[in-house]
Point group: C2
Chain length 350, copies 2
Amino acid sequence: MLKTEGLNVAVVGVTGAVGTRMLEMLESSPLPVKSLFPLASARSAGKKVVFGGKEWTIEEAKPESFEKIDIALFSAGGSVSKQLAPEAAKRGAIVVDNTSAFRMDKDVPLVVPEVNEKALFQHHGIIANPNCSTIQMVAALEPIRQAYGLNRIIVSTYQAVSGAGAKAIAELENQSRDVLNGKEAQPAIMPVKGDKRHFQMAFNAIPQIDLFQPNDYTFEEMKMINETKKIMGDQEIKVSATCVRVPVSISHGESVYIEINKSDVPASDLKSLLADAPGVILEDDPEHQVYPMPANAAGKKEVFVGRIRRDPDVANGFHMWIVSDNLLKGAAWNSVQIAESLLKLGLVKV
Amino acid sequence: MLKTEGLNVAVVGVTGAVGTRMLEMLESSPLPVKSLFPLASARSAGKKVVFGGKEWTIEEAKPESFEKIDIALFSAGGSVSKQLAPEAAKRGAIVVDNTSAFRMDKDVPLVVPEVNEKALFQHHGIIANPNCSTIQMVAALEPIRQAYGLNRIIVSTYQAVSGAGAKAIAELENQSRDVLNGKEAQPAIMPVKGDKRHFQMAFNAIPQIDLFQPNDYTFEEMKMINETKKIMGDQEIKVSATCVRVPVSISHGESVYIEINKSDVPASDLKSLLADAPGVILEDDPEHQVYPMPANAAGKKEVFVGRIRRDPDVANGFHMWIVSDNLLKGAAWNSVQIAESLLKLGLVKV
């Protein structure tokens, strides 16, 4: 697996829910990795990870950690990225950042390879990986936009708790056990670690992901709105979102309504289009109860789309249901895929 | 609690998730009940229920069971209603039917008292209680429709398993225990008891409630579409729905988008309207993380509304989040409320 010629790859936040999956995605990638630099906070320094059949020692992430790095995958939270991503870029590493720290910066490409791989040519050392719920939606909708144009998106999400980190998965499991045993759930993290109040997540649905903004949308909803327009390169698309956390460990579901710029397109044409779309798997056979579900998508790299049907009253309106593993296509896999694209496009050299 | 003068009330399906709650709602209602007639299938005949401080013996529901009945509340499935509701009506009982058997019949009023109580005057012995997810939505939207007109509704539901009956609650709990213990979930009922395939519900989201129709919408989605138009008495409102089952025991959540017939109405006006609406409780204070949640609504009769905000791009478009106990306002309470209305309007006499 490890190459004698190849890339020095750093993974920042290597012990987290996304970081551990970045290693898995790197292992199964054709990307030639010469050396791995597993980085984390001082608390995890000294621990080991296994990669390419070899043990590697985790070091504390510092500016100097990036001296010999070709590609640095960051997933250790926005404040770590804000501090260290520029230091890494300054030292010649190309940063693929999985936090929201730089996503809306004019000079930072926000990339889903199936949608806007070419934006990578504009990078200045930092590339942003979009928000998980945005990635799966734009991957499914871009083929439709290319074919018919897209003037409107309304999305309601059913988001897994792993979007709030490994500790949130444990919290859901512990709360579920407590409730099943007739005890009170002990909320500590959800809905938002940094917010004032915490609520039971087990057997509940919470209409708050990330902090509320002055316009009464949450930051998660604004990410979906703003990132979709940036990735699709079209500020005119009307986008709105309602983001809800549900008691699912892994994989986000999305109920999506779109209006295309053409009337009288049958739903079957959209299905054909998505059946051939890169990174997308069509699961749409109502007669045989075939549709995407989080429990089936977990652990898979693709975006699953089904329940595609025309709006009963609007000739250019369609509804669909999109599911993907939020830790893979929504985070770790999209980041590694960006690294693969960088190599393919000659933007990083072995 | 029991009256010497009063009504003979039958509850058909008295042992079910809704039936047991019909008794609770009758107990706390000012409706003067003289005698209770608890009815069920032959399997439950001979068992006892407690009501008004007294034990009552369950009898098998038959045509003759309704000889002396004033009001019969039905919640034993569509086939039982189809067979016995006309028999009950023939014998002079007024039927309030909680199944989908008669909802779309021209001669059957479909009633949410806060919305269209007056439709009760048109009854011919059978009154239909709407679908649970429809009731909470129209209760929240009718005050807005009255004030501004309503031209469009798009809803995505987050529905509790209790909509599929008491056995579905047990199935969710058993599956949750199994998954937490590293075992395979054993699906037997969900998503739809009468359909061919069953899927894990614990820690999953299933985009199918009731059977698929030829147009690729589910029957649950078509109920929301057709019943909303009938209850609001307006076939011109554009309605579409995506119905999803989530691992919640009680209370449905709904992410609802509406377009009103007036531009430039601030969201705060909609909030004021709903704060004063009958049967509705406004829970909308993002700054203090106040919004409706299934875990809080379970066991309460009201419809809870929050997250009200204007669409970023559409001047007459608004998003909101509506939650209510699907077994109470969605079923048992709305049925008992209809019985109260019948008495109040003089349509049934003590």
